[in-house]
């Protein structure tokens, strides 16, 4: 008993250390490059504050949709919109691998997702196999078709390859998604949910779990040899190959990995909607994917996920609905204003707001949402709050080659 007391006492005494650190920002200019961030630890209060914000985040994504400890009353449609936002987050991370890490443009990403969706539906409905097996197959097929497209990218570059991806998307929409036996034609194809995940909230948590898995894979990608290889070859293929990196193999790897994740997202989307229609995967969706990834911030996991969720909620009208709630006090409805007064149908809102945000991103915050939230993210990860964090990793505009 006394020993634990002693322990806690020494721990309380420990924060004496930070005051020594406190004057550091003053001489930080001199020793900026070396080691100032290694020794720094947040104070006890800082740890609590960070823990509190983490808890708040966890509460927001886990408890609020389940209506646990929540002042909001979310309905089934709200949770469904949240699920879509999570799936879009997975798609965003998938596109980020190509666009952000490998520096390859893809205007055919809707085809990647669509192929995953129909593959999974086919495996579950026609082959009568389990949902989990279908996820695997959808990921594998996604990786395969993306790998084939990647093989084309080795021969073409820049604008020409962008055109190939564009036509690949259009081609898939007209041919593969047009096969009635496979996709159910206009009526769509049913894609039942697995047992145990029938309810909206359980399926939402399942998708959230997959998002966490993809975030983990992405994190390890950037922190391991493959991520470094991609970073090198994106900037300078010659330097990369002189470092011993097989440039072609790593471009193919990036395509395959991106396609795998897109296929997984497609499968999740199919079983989320339960009836999947081919016409959903048109060019509009591809454009939305590119917009949400770039606005979210290339090479920023958190930014891309937030950007994707934002566009998903904008597309489903939930975001405007959310804004309408407080606005209804002053007798104003944003939804009505846009649909009625402006005359813009709901589904086109992201495609009007998106390009404006894209322009703002490219001109003001090349790192997108990821750059804007960088100080908070750094703080949450236990580093000092630095309002200039994230400014260094500037994305040059030619990153988005098209």
């Amino acid at each position: 008993m006394t020993s634990t007391l002693d322990d806690s006492r020494t721990r309380i005494l420990e924060p004496v250390a930070p005051p020594v650190q406190a004057p550091e920002p003053a001489d930080g200019l001199a020793s900026e490059s070396s080691g100032s961030d290694q020794a720094w630890r947040p104070s006890r209060a800082g740890v609590w504050a960070r823990g509190f914000v983490w808890g708040l985040l966890a509460w927001f994504v886990l408890a609020v949709p389940a209506n646990i400890l929540s002042p909001f009353e979310l309905g089934v449609a709200d949770v469904s919109a949240a699920t879509e936002a999570v799936i879009f987050g997975i798609v965003g991370l998938s596109l980020n691998i190509l666009l952000g890490y490998a520096g390859q443009i893809s205007f055919g990403h809707q085809a990647f997702v669509g192929i995953g969706a129909f593959t999974s539906a086919y495996v579950v409905v026609d082959l009568q196999l389990s949902f989990w097996f279908a996820l695997l197959i959808a990921s594998a097929v996604g990786a395969l078709q993306a790998g084939l497209l990647g093989a084309v990218s080795l021969r073409l570059s820049g604008l020409y390859f962008a055109l190939v991806t564009l036509s690949y998307g259009a081609f898939t929409e007209q041919t593969v998604f047009g096969i009635t036996e496979l996709t159910g034609g206009e009526g769509g194809k049913s894609a039942p949910r697995p047992t145990g995940f029938d309810s909206e909230i359980s399926y939402y948590l399942l998708c959230l779990g997959f998002l966490a898995l993809v975030v983990f894979i992405d994190w390890r990608l950037t922190r391991s040899k493959a991520g470094r290889a991609l970073a090198a070859l994106r900037e300078n293929p010659r330097v990369a190959s002189s470092y011993g990196i097989n440039v072609k193999a790593y471009i193919l790897l990036a395509f395959a990995l991106s396609g795998m994740i897109a296929g997984l997202a497609g499968a999740l989307l199919a079983h989320h909607e339960e009836v999947i229609v081919g016409s959903k995967f048109g060019f509009q969706l591809a454009l939305l994917f590119v917009l949400m990834t770039v606005v979210g911030g290339l090479r920023s996991r958190s930014g891309v996920v937030i950007g994707a969720a934002f566009f998903a909620l904008l597309g489903s009208g939930k975001l405007l609905e959310m804004l309408d709630k407080p606005l209804s006090a002053v007798g104003f409805s944003l939804t009505e204003f846009i649909e009625g007064t402006v005359g813009l149908p709901q589904e086109f809102v992201p495609l009007v707001i998106g390009p404006i945000l894209l322009l703002l991103t490219i001109t003001l915050y090349p790192g997108g949402i990821g750059q804007q939230i960088a100080p908070v993210r750094e703080w949450l990860l236990g580093r000092r709050f630095d309002p200039h964090a994230g400014k260094v990793e500037e994305v040059t505009v030619n990153d988005v080659r098209a």
Partner: protein, 269 residues
């Protein structure tokens, strides 16, 4: 056995004959210098040796193995490291990150287990970081470890580049103008560094440079290229006093009109 042997190498770009019948040899532990005026084809020769260009004819042999058909990364794997004239580093990454990237072939796990986060990859990452720190310390670059490459001055980058290429664990080092942008004292220090690196890493070095004093001091053998051809080859003193070399550097007329008493013409020091 020679480490590097270039035999009868020619490369033509359309009508331009960038290299014609070039022969070059570098023996074990030798430092071979390549000098020559701008546009003589020195860097083109490097590009043929490392695989960026496919020669029109001729062969490149590395330790008795014909490597003429191998892609660049395979040649790096065999132990051929090179630096670039205009700094071959990943500019958006930090110095340490560059050294970690350069150890691509030494990393003891494959790309897939890295992505899946297999536990052993974590310790391996720690190991290559330590190795990166070691190399930077050896070259006296510890201060710039976490600096972004794009923010560093040219002179430092030339040394960082050498550090990065050392991280690829080379056996044969091809240095493209390591002394460019350096003053005489710095070039002298670079010479000492190269001699030390050869001892430390058991390297064979082929280097292109315009600092004739640097090249003649450290090289065991010197080639002079002009208009894609080997103008002269031999020990530093032989090449320096070779009449053709002098003419290429000083210009035709000057040699003819030099009527003053100095006995031999030497490439300006």
């Amino acid at each position: 056995m020679s480490v590097l042997e270039v035999r009868d190498l020619s490369i033509h770009f359309g009508g331009i004959k960038a290299l014609q019948h070039v022969d070059l040899r570098a023996g074990e532990w030798e430092i071979v210098g390549i000098i020559g005026p701008n546009g003589a084809g020195k860097t083109t020769l490097f590009n043929c040796i490392t695989g960026f260009y496919t020669p029109t004819s001729g062969s490149v042999t590395y330790r008795d193995r014909d490597i003429s058909k191998l892609p660049v990364h395979r040649r790096t794997a065999l132990g051929i490291g090179r630096t670039f004239q205009n700094v071959g580093l990943v500019k958006n990454a930090t110095v340490l990150e560059n050294l970690r990237t350069a150890q691509h072939l030494q990393v003891g796990y494959d790309a897939l287990s890295g992505v899946l986060g297999v536990p052993s990859t974590f310790s391996e990452e720690g190991r290559i970081s330590r190795r990166g720190h070691q190399i930077l310390e050896l070259l006296g670059l510890t201060e710039v470890t976490s600096a972004r490459v794009a923010d560093l001055p040219y002179g430092v980058l030339k040394r960082v580049e050498i550090a990065a290429v050392l991280a690829t664990d080379p056996d044969l080092l091809l240095l493209d103008e390591p002394g460019s942008g350096m003053g005489p004292e710095e070039a002298h220090a670079l010479g000492d560094l190269l001699l030390e690196l050869r001892r430390e890493f058991a390297l064979t070095i082929v280097m292109i440079d315009h600092h004739v004093p640097l090249v003649t001091r450290v090289s065991d053998y010197v080639y002079c290229l002009n208009f894609g051809e080997v103008l002269a080859a031999g020990t530093p003193d032989v090449v320096r006093t070779h009449p053709e070399v002098v003419r290429a550097y000083m210009g035709e007329d000057e040699v003819d009109s030099s009527t003053d008493a100095t006995a031999t013409q030497v490439v300006p020091v």
